[in-house]
């Protein structure tokens, strides 16, 4: 069985996409393709069918009724001028060409590998208190991003949204200088009406909401090709401090 045996569905609307996705069994979703296409091309991933989202109209950012909604197929490059700390996180996804291709939905669904962390946007969106609207088994539903991530993948993300309200934001991350920016660890912070939300990418397969008083609490940090758990343990409190300094400077 090769790529030619994969049936491809190319829905032309969100509704068609939801229907085509069904309960998601044996369906691989292809949006920007930056993660999935190499897997398909190499044969490491051999699904029965694939859903290409590029023409389903799920792209775009809207601000309406106090809510910012970002369609799943919106390219990451459209977020480089978004609200902080999302903008900072978006700026460091891949490079300019990959950002233009990678989508918000793909980033939200991605998980770090044994080699490298992924999902730069996740922490920033958690800090913003974003919720995810998705389809799949049991029908459409919305939930906080951190809840969605904790459950793992397997659903079709339709959009991500958060309150369009003034807030202070902060961001701190470590990349390796002199090389393309693979984020080792990033902390995003947002504060609104006195409520601080702090989240991190690079501490687990998917981003998590941190306890602001004890950021390392409950975390099981991992080794990967870029950094060890030990190093991330050293780094996390320092990045929390830097993100909060950034947040205070920006408020």
């Amino acid at each position: 069985m090769g790529l030619n045996d994969v049936s491809v569905l190319i829905p032309s609307s969100a509704a068609e996409a939801v229907e085509a996705f069904g309960d998601g069994k044996d369906v691989t979703v292809v949006a920007g393709g930056t993660i999935v296409v190499p897997e398909l091309a190499s044969g490491r991933l051999r699904p029965k069918s694939a859903l290409y989202l590029g023409r389903a109209g799920l792209s775009g950012i809207s601000r309406k009724d106090g809510t910012v909604t970002i369609g799943a197929a919106t390219p990451v490059s459209d977020l480089v001028d978004a609200d902080p700390p999302l903008a900072q996180a978006a700026t460091h996804v891949g490079d300019l060409e990959v950002r233009a291709q990678a989508t918000v939905g793909g980033n939200v669904c991605s998980a770090s590998t044994d080699d490298t962390p992924r999902g730069d946007l996740q922490a920033a969106l958690i800090a913003l208190g974003a919720s995810v609207r998705s389809a799949g088994k049991g029908g459409e539903r919305s939930e906080p991003l951190e809840t969605f991530l904790a459950e793992g993948a397997g659903r079709l993300v339709l959009d991500v949204s958060y309150d369009d309200a003034p807030r202070a934001a902060g961001y701190a991350a470590v990349w390796r200088p002199h090389t393309h920016h693979y984020t080792i660890l990033a902390v995003a912070a947002a504060k609104r009406d006195g409520e601080l939300r702090l989240a991190a990418t690079g501490v687990a397969p998917r981003a998590v909401l941190l306890d602001a008083d004890d950021p390392l609490a409950g975390l099981e940090l991992r080794d990967d090709a870029l950094a060890s758990a030990w190093y991330r343990t050293q780094l996390l409190p320092r990045l929390v401090e830097r993100a909060l300094t950034d947040l205070e400077g920006g408020s």
């Binding site: 490298t116 390796r176 200088p177 002199h178 090389t179 393309h180 870029l226 190093y231 780094l235 320092r238």
Partner: protein
């Protein structure tokens, strides 16, 4: 956040040509009826520019314009032996072979020209594509006319072959390493300075500036040799602070197959790179050239690591100087080396003595 800057230096040497030698290169040249020159060499161009360098050597040696040269290294049916592009030998050893081939073709060219001009070959020289009588420049014939005469009048092919081989240097005393002849074609030299910026909270090391001085013997093409030194500089930066196949060495875990997990240097944050070319001609190399492309990535890692010491006072002796290694070294900064009599002992934790069994041959005498 505390950032510190520091500088470090290094000085290195490197053998040009395969160490112990014994590796030949050969070339041959033919001149077409219109004077254009075909060079056949077996040297692979891996980006180092050997097609260009060897063409320049032929143009210079024959005395014809560079754009008259056609260079063919494409296959083993038409090109003779070149052991290969390694050991910094493509300019030195293989370049010497094409120089000799060009000298031999030039001799043939002069013999034909001598017949046409009725002047002895030894009294002729080739300048800018013309064969000219020494001391009587009005007596001349264009190389195209010589080539035509060879073809159509004299029934000759102007051709030349050349080969270069530095004899194999045998180790005659295995106990001491003594050799029976020089084990290198030449030795090249370089020095380097590095300036770094170190963040002592995150352990990040940013290389800000690299200065490099290389004795290249003779720069056949100064721009290409600069390109080798600059390319080597960034590879040296990679060795110094970025690259490792086994991030948990000696464990083989987390050896990644992705570009994202192997940190080859990118263009972002490119340090300032100053290149100084020194020309102390080698006696044996073509036009005095030495080979420097390999050693171009050797001086930066120690200069960078010394600069890190200058910045934050710790020696990181396992490369690359990753943020993690730096933070771990900073944690133990106060310890310093152990002193035992006149011994000053660094790095006991990674010595063979820490893990090797008592009777192991792999023990090192310290203290």
């Amino acid at each position: 956040m505390a950032k510190h800057t520091g500088r470090g230096i290094s000085a290195i040497e490197y053998p040009t040509g395969m160490n112990q030698n014994g590796d030949p290169s050969q070339a041959w040249i033919k001149i077409k009826p219109d004077g254009r020159v075909d060079v056949f060499s077996g040297t692979a161009d891996i980006g180092n520019g050997s097609k260009t360098i060897q063409s320049q050597i032929v143009a210079e040696t024959l005395g014809v314009p560079y754009d008259w040269i056609t260079y063919d290294n494409s296959n083993t049916d038409s090109s003779p032996v070149c052991t290969g592009t390694f050991a910094s030998r493509a300019t030195f050893v293989a370049g010497k072979a094409v120089e000799k081939a060009a000298l031999s073709a030039k001799q043939k060219l002069l013999e034909i020209a001598a017949k046409e001009l009725e002047i002895a070959p030894d009294d002729l020289e080739v300048v800018d594509g013309e064969v000219i009588a020494k001391g009587a420049p009005q007596k001349k014939i264009g190389v195209p006319d010589v080539a035509a005469a060879a073809t159509w009048t004299h029934g000759e092919l102007i051709t030349g072959t050349g080969a270069h081989l530095n004899p194999y240097a045998a180790i005659v005393e295995p106990e001491t390493g003594k050799v029976d002849s020089p084990p290198h074609a030449a030795i090249s030299y370089a020095a380097c300075a590095a300036e770094v910026e170190v963040d002592d909270e995150t352990g990040e090391v940013r290389v800000v500036h690299l200065w490099q001085a290389f004795d290249v013997g003779r720069a056949i093409n100064p721009t290409l040799v600069e390109g080798q030194i600059q390319g080597g500089a960034l590879m040296g930066l990679g060795l110094g602070v970025l690259e490792e196949c086994y991030p948990y060495y000696p464990s083989a875990e987390h050896r990644g197959g992705e570009f994202g997990s192997y940190l080859a240097p990118g263009i972002k944050g490119l340090p300032k790179i100053d290149t100084i070319i020194i020309e102390n001609p080698s006696e044996a190399g073509p036009y005095g050239a030495k080979g420097i492309s390999e050693m171009a990535n050797n001086p930066q890692p120690p200069a960078i690591a010394a600069a890190v010491f200058d910045a934050v006072g710790v020696w990181v002796t396992e490369l690359p100087v990753t943020p993690e290694r730096l933070l771990r070294a900073l944690e133990q900064k106060e310890q310093g080396p152990r002193r035992d009599g006149k011994w000053v002992i660094f790095d006991e934790d990674i010595s063979v003595n820490t893990v090797a069994a008592g009777e192991s041959r792999f023990r090192f005498p310290v203290g």
